[in-house]
């Protein structure tokens, strides 16, 4: 940990010339999934001064054109453009591949990129289903390449200091953790009319291994998170960050049992027909993760946004000495139990406008490539973190508590739930081998 911190700081300060001397050539970097978030990561690659953007892939020619224009504007480079990521990998043989496609594409993109010899920066959660994540982990181990997952809260300054505070014992014995992400909204959700596929968009390819459905502007660009064919709603999106923090803090690797309930009482039943569609992710969920030494509760809702609660997003660690909130833009705050005790607080230090810490996560990624060591958000730990929301979704779908055996990565005594560790792929795409 200390060595890693040193390397990271040294690289940031530009005081590691020996590392650069070892690899003077710029790292040939490619992006798969060239929308808003992918470009956020790519911009950090460009800003690092150590990467050249050789190629971009996207199934939407419009997205690709915008990304190419921005890369050219920022760096003067003219990356090659591909609709098919497989063609990009085969022809360009990049050193680094950034993957920022919707969740349902992460596994196939990552495994193919690793097989092509690239180091991979892939967005969270690792897989859309548990066995995809396992296959990604296996491919990473076999390749010997560095895989960094976009869990930037593993390195964000107020998370690091919040964890230090927590581990120092200042919060006392923590017996319960509550994780949450609340956003304003109301209902019911009005269905959006399906539309013709826009010019330049390969919609069949976008759906890929997921079921093909009519095109909707609510899904692309960027609106797919609450449609379960492509992602896992708020639990998959936000939950993975905060559940990962719990693993980081506790040192425990998995929960023993998981129970999740929720639904769409506010947004209403999902709609999908030849004329129109809505999202289908739950508008609220509560999930209980029972660990060896503590219980962790996740909750989210996408309605009733107001000022009734001080913190809208983040984690509460309930200890014998008080409550620690680690949040997003609101940094971390410790509320002591003792009357008159001192409230302690640290501000967040985020990159705006999107409130992340990709810059230092990218620096860590490069340092890991240089040193051939595990990055701070390695696929090993990101796999364990990503499994948690995915198991929550399985419990929610089956409507019952599930018991997780981390050694075999199986749900105990529940074949129906176990079947949901994978899902059928639409031909010709094949579910990756574990």
């Amino acid at each position: 940990m200390k060595r890693r911190t040193f390397l990271r700081c040294a690289a940031l300060a530009g005081a590691a010339p020996f590392l650069r001397a070892a690899e003077p050539r710029k790292l040939r970097t490619a992006l798969i999934g060239s929308g808003w978030w992918g470009k956020n990561i790519l911009k950090e690659a460009m800003a690092s001064g150590r990467c050249s953007t050789v190629a971009l892939a996207d199934v939407d020619a419009n997205v690709l054109e915008v990304a190419a224009d921005q890369v050219n504007d920022l760096s003067g480079e003219k990356p090659k453009l591909y609709r098919d990521y497989r063609e990009l990998l085969a022809k360009e043989k990049p050193d680094i591949v950034i993957i920022a496609t919707p969740d349902h594409w992460h596994a196939l993109n990552t495994i193919e990129a690793l097989r092509a010899g690239a180091h991979v920066f892939v967005e969270k959660p690792t897989g859309h289903t548990v066995n995809e994540s396992r296959a990604m982990l296996r491919a990473a181990r076999e390749s010997g390449r560095v895989v960094q997952v976009g869990l930037h809260r593993r390195i964000g300054p107020h998370h690091v200091s919040g964890m230090e505070f927590l581990k120092s014992g200042a919060v006392g014995d923590v017996g319960m953790v509550r994780l949450f992400a609340h956003s304003p909204g109301s209902g019911p959700e009005t269905p959006t009319p399906n539309e013709p596929v826009p010019d330049g968009m390969d919609w069949d390819f976008w759906c890929g291994p997921a079921p093909l459905r009519p095109f909707s502007k609510k899904l692309h660009p960027g609106g797919w998170r609450n449609t379960l064919d492509f992602a896992n709603g708020t639990l998959g999106d936000w939950g993975v960050h905060w559940l990962d923090q719990v693993l980081w803090w506790s040192g425990e690797q998995y929960p023993k049992t998981i129970f999740c309930s929720g639904g769409r009482p506010v947004l209403g039943p999902p709609v999908l027909n030849e004329k129109e569609q809505t999202s289908d992710a739950p508008d609220h969920q509560v999930a209980t993760y029972q660990f060896e030494k503590f219980t962790c509760v996740w909750e989210h809702r996408r309605f009733a946004g107001n000022d009734s609660e001080k913190h809208k997003i983040g984690s509460y660690y309930y200890g014998s000495k008080g409550v620690l909130h680690i949040g997003w833009r609101d940094g971390w705050t410790f509320y002591p139990s003792t009357k008159g005790g001192k409230i302690e607080h640290q501000d967040s230090q985020l990159q705006e406008p999107d409130g992340h810490n990709i810059q230092i996560l990218w620096a860590d990624f490069l340092a890991a490539i240089d040193a051939r060591k595990a990055p701070v958000a390695s696929i090993e730990l990101a796999h364990r973190a990503s499994v948690l929301p995915l198991l929550g979704m399985i419990s929610w779908r089956t409507g019952r508590s599930i018991r997780w055996d981390a050694a075999s990565e199986q749900i105990l005594g529940d074949p129906e739930a176990n079947a949901l560790l994978s899902r059928p792929y639409r031909a010709p795409w094949q579910y990756p081998a574990i």
């Binding site: 915008v66 959006t192 826009p198 406008p353």
Partner: protein, 409 residues
């Protein structure tokens, strides 16, 4: 004089004649961005310094949306969305008395924002034209609200409805109504709605067409300039023939801000980090003079006053700033942070700026700095619509459809 059109005194006389014709209605704001389509009003009979609250002349609820207000011949019109319907409203400008209203079924269109109407109607004499997000094109009798004709322009031309719908206001040029519909615009006969010319069925941009004055408008009946999703272009008004096109790529195809004209220079600027550029228009097409990242106008175009651009830099997802740039060099003169995604106009040399959270700020338009002489909270956010000044009344609206008319006299 034989060669009359080129003769300076006669040209001057014509200018004066045009001026005197327009002064009769100089205090009207009949179309988007005002009488000269650049966010500027010459109106002087209003007060720019206030200490307390500014009196409210009248208020109305017009529904969800960002449509601006147009004022002509004692009438004020705008649009909004409620309960599955778009509505066009026409009020008595001085009192707020509802003269007429027309509603029709329409989608909410809440794609990455709360939805509602985004375009602005256009007054032309006794008529009011309206192009909806979804392509409903209507001509009303301004006095009675009677529908004189209507058509569905997307269906009629085969043009796709872009991601956030048709947003550019109709532009009246002679007998034509020029629309930002299709790859390079569409024109209809303003008396019948009959399509006179159209362009490739590709996504339109979100800007309102503006006429380019002679000589830029050349001898072939004038040019109009506007954006599609991939560039800014100019077409011949009478035929739709393309004169030039500048590639201008913005995230999600959001080329929304109108071009800002200065002599034979054109300032383009869009948001999502894209920035702006000053183009010099030549016979062979535009040439870049300078580029900047200091002014990225996501929605409302900047306003040019005495060689300086005043505009909003940044997106709705950021804390956008109000800024002043030197048009000659692109150099930033000042920045007022935290303004948000609002809009502004300039009247009698003063900025009338509505902040993103609904605070009205009045200040001299000066490169020296931003020093408000009045500030008042008109309503709550979001206020993405620039205020409109006409006959001493300032028309303000927010996304929730609160139309608040302040009396600045």
């Amino acid at each position: 004089m034989p060669s009359s059109t080129a003769h300076p005194p006669l040209a001057l006389a014509l200018t004066l004649l045009i001026s005197s014709l327009t002064t009769a209605r100089a205090s009207d704001w009949p179309h988007f961005r005002g009488p000269t389509r650049n966010g500027i009003s010459d109106e002087k009979a209003w007060r720019s310094t206030w200490t307390g609250d500014i009196p409210v002349a009248w208020k109305a609820q017009v529904g969800l949306g960002f449509s601006s207000i147009v004022v002509s011949d004692g009438r004020a019109a705008t649009a909004g969305h409620a309960d599955g319907k778009d509505s066009v409203f026409c009020f008595e400008a001085a009192t707020g008395k509802l003269l007429w209203q027309h509603s029709y079924p329409a989608q909410l269109g809440d794609v990455y924002f709360e939805g509602g109407t985004t375009g602005t109607p256009t007054f032309d004499g006794d008529h009011l034209y309206w192009l909806s997000r979804w392509g409903d094109l209507l001509c009303f009798d301004a006095a009675s609200g009677k529908r004189l004709w209507e058509t569905q322009i997307a269906t009629e031309t085969g043009a796709p409805v872009p991601m956030w719908g048709f947003t550019g206001a109709p532009l009246v040029q002679g007998n034509l109504l020029v629309l930002n519909v299709g790859d390079a615009g569409t024109a209809v006969d303003k008396t019948t709605g009959t399509v006179l010319w159209k362009s490739e069925p590709k996504d339109a941009g979100y800007s309102t067409p503006i006429p380019l004055p002679p000589p830029l408008g050349d001898s072939g009946g004038g040019l109009v300039a506007f954006a599609n999703t991939k560039g800014y272009l100019a077409v011949r008004t009478t035929t739709g023939a393309e004169a030039w096109r500048v590639r201008w790529i913005t995230e999600y195809g959001v080329n929304a801000a109108d071009p800002v004209l200065s002599g034979d220079d054109l300032f383009l600027s869009t948001g999502y980090g894209k920035g702006g550029a000053l183009l010099h228009l030549t016979a062979s097409g535009p040439q870049e003079v300078w580029k900047t990242k200091k002014l990225r106008t996501q929605m409302n175009a900047a306003v040019l006053h005495q060689g300086h651009l005043y505009g909003v830099d940044g997106d709705t997802t950021q804390k956008a700033s109000l800024k002043c740039l030197d048009l000659a060099t692109g150099e930033q003169k000042w920045e007022h942070p935290g303004f948000g995604s609002g809009g502004l106009i300039i009247a009698d040399g003063k900025l009338l700026a509505m902040s993103g959270i609904g605070e009205l700020l009045i200040a001299p338009a000066s490169p020296e700095g931003f020093t408000p002489t009045a500030r008042t909270q008109v309503f709550g956010p979001k206020a993405w619509t620039a205020p409109v000044l006409s006959n001493g009344l300032l028309y303000c609206r927010n996304n929730r459809g609160e139309l608040v008319v302040l009396n600045l006299q």
